[in-house]
């Protein structure tokens, strides 16, 4: 299971970085989302991988580390809010600049033609 999780995180990070390096805001946003999925998974397993163990003391013989679960919840909420802000900003930038390139040197055309 360790190998499977490790490969998933690696794959998500790789795809995220690849998309981040694209020139259009939509791809960059997808890349950031993938990167944050990878990060969330990584935080989730930072307390160690345990199968069939509860997070509440006394509910089962073994128990999982509850702190990473609290951390990942915070990270998910914050990541979601930040992505929402980025989406709005990207739409605004598309409207203002007339194109959706992240780092374009071409002069802005009014109205998006």
């Amino acid at each position: 299971m360790e190998l499977f999780i490790a490969i998933s995180i690696g794959l998500l990070t790789g795809c995220g970085v690849l998309l981040l390096l694209r020139g259009r805001t939509f791809a960059v946003m997808l890349g950031l989302t993938m990167l944050s999925y990878a990060v969330n998974l990584f935080i989730f397993i930072s307390g160690g991988l345990t199968a069939g163990a509860g997070a509440v003391l006394g509910a089962s013989a073994q128990y999982a580390d509850p702190l990473p679960q609290a951390l990942v919840l915070t990270a998910i909420v914050i990541g979601f809010a930040m992505t929402a802000f980025l989406v709005v900003l990207a739409i605004r930038s598309r409207a203002e600049l007339g194109h959706d390139e992240v780092d374009s040197q071409r002069p802005a055309s009014r109205g998006g033609q």
Binding site: V39, S46, L67, L71, I78, T83, L86, L89, S93, E96
Partner: protein, 494 residues
């Protein structure tokens, strides 16, 4: 007072919410007065906290009263209250300056400013690494809002870069946090510092990787050389009041480096002791070199101000990389001086640009300014402070840095760089001043009258800078104690 520690976080939150609610969000006048009043109260509380924490051991404020090292805590030691104080004074000046009209160029300027202050104060006061991340996000989301304040094409594009870069930075921060938690089993900073001494040799590499990630994150905030490229564009395109407030944002990165690296990779960290110092030293020096070139090449006042912020960030990072307690203490004094004077330059360049019509703040001969004598004096004064001429705060801070560095064997490089960059600033300032004020075209441009609120903000920051010199003995003692206390904090937790 025990609960004073949490007030610098609670009060900006409360006032920000109040400013969003109906009776106060309506009229411009009411909003401005409440915002100014709130900033004044924040400043008084921060001053009280500064006074209370002078020469006493660090106070640990346990949120939810969980025993250490469980639960989240706030730490008020001399280092954190020092940064809280300098930030609240700066935001008081910014709120005052924005009342000159900047706050009405978009909506929600004052609430966002208060939320930003909450995030900044929280980041300074927290003693928990994950909580530091949370407060980073609070201050970042407010800064995103402020960054686009007023709108406009260039601003939106600069904001897009700023947001994407910082989102990547946050992802890296989380990776580092998770890795550190996996290796050390704690996120309480003082506790982590103890656990780091008990690491297995096999775990060292993972902790080093996490530390490297943290270095990238804080370096991005502090504008360390390969990660600095967002700063000039973002600061030059932001609204002047906002850019002036951002002068303290690089200091958050510097503070985090002092706090996190000073605690985790301090003298007792064994194999990891002094991690990243060489990188900071050389990175800071090259940042200074680049900023010096940018100062010389500046074509307008805003770019000059951005180069000055970058220069101060480079100086601070190199000083941290020296690894010497006296140099670090001098760097603290330099941090407070450079935050204020950096802000003054943004505010002043805006005032000058408004008087010059179409020419703006570009360094070309323009129409004669109506209020040239007053602005000229302010310009000359600010230039003297930033160059480091006696008897101003820049002189004291730089002199102390040089004194500390001259006792180190490798310190001469930074001394030379510091003097060279000051010379470059002197040359550029003389050129800019003579072009702006002496080589003016014969006709006078009818410009809007100078705004009292905006001017008094500039004067407030300059006078506070003079205060650093007048009470120099007290401040130098305070900075030295703050660094000494950071070392003691390691032994504080059982």
């Amino acid at each position: 007072m025990q609960h004073l520690v949490i007030l610098p976080i609670l009060m900006p939150t409360l006032f920000a919410v109040l400013l969003l609610l109906q009776p106060l969000s309506g009229a411009v006048r009411t909003r401005r007065w409440l915002s100014l009043f709130a900033m004044l109260v924040n400043f008084l509380v921060a001053s009280l906290l500064l006074w209370q924490q002078t020469n006493v051991p660090a106070q640990h404020y346990l949120l939810g009263n969980w025993a250490e090292p469980f639960g989240i805590l706030l730490v008020a030691d001399q280092l954190s209250v020092f940064f809280v104080w300098l930030t609240t004074l700066l935001s008081l000046a910014i709120a005052l300056h924005s009342c000159g009209g900047d706050d009405e160029k978009g909506s929600y300027f004052h609430p966002l400013l208060h939320f930003l202050l909450m995030g900044l104060n929280g980041a300074f006061l927290t003693g928990d690494l994950f909580n530091l991340f949370v407060f980073f996000e609070v201050l970042l989301i407010s800064s995103y809002g402020l960054m686009v304040h007023g709108g406009g094409k260039k601003r939106i594009q600069a904001a897009l870069h700023y947001v994407i870069l910082n989102l990547v930075g946050s992802a890296l921060f989380l990776l580092a946090l998770a890795l550190l938690y996996a290796m050390l089993g704690s996120l309480h900073m003082a506790d982590m510092a103890q656990r780091i001494t008990m690491l297995q040799p096999a775990q060292l590499l993972a902790v080093q990787a996490a530390a490297g990630l943290l270095l990238i994150v804080f370096g991005l905030k502090a504008a360390l050389l390969p990660l600095h490229f967002w700063l000039p564009a973002a600061y030059a395109h932001a609204n002047p009041s906002v850019a002036a407030m951002f002068a303290v944002m690089t200091k958050v990165g510097v503070y985090s480096l002092i706090r996190v690296f000073g605690l985790l990779f301090g003298a007792s960290a064994g194999a990891l002791s002094g991690y990243g110092e060489t990188l900071l030293w050389w990175g800071g020096l090259i940042t200074m070199l680049l900023a010096t070139v940018m100062v010389l090449a500046a074509v307008d006042l805003k770019r000059l101000a951005a180069a000055l912020v970058l220069l101060s960030a480079g100086t601070l990072l190199a000083a941290l990389g020296s690894g010497d307690a006296q140099v670090k203490a001098a760097a603290l004094l330099y941090a407070i001086h450079s935050s204020w004077i950096g802000a003054v330059w943004y505010l002043l360049s805006d005032q000058i640009a408004r008087q010059r019509g179409g020419v703006g703040d570009r360094l070309v001969p323009g129409p004669k300014m109506q209020h040239a004598p007053l602005l000229g004096w302010l310009f000359a004064l600010s230039a003297l402070v930033v160059i480091g001429m006696p008897p101003f705060s820049g002189f004291v801070a730089k002199l102390w840095l040089i004194q500390g560095l001259s006792t180190l064997e490798h310190g001469m490089v930074l001394v030379v760089m510091l003097l060279l960059s000051s010379l470059a600033v002197l040359v550029t300032m003389s050129r800019a001043g003579s072009v702006l004020f002496w080589r003016a075209l014969p006709h006078t441009k009818t410009a809007p009258a100078l705004n009292t609120a905006s001017l008094s903000a500039i004067v407030l920051l300059l006078v506070s800078g003079v205060g650093l010199v007048v009470f120099g003995q007290w401040w130098t003692q305070f900075c030295a104690d703050a660094i000494a206390q950071l070392q003691v904090a390691l032994g504080g937790l059982k």
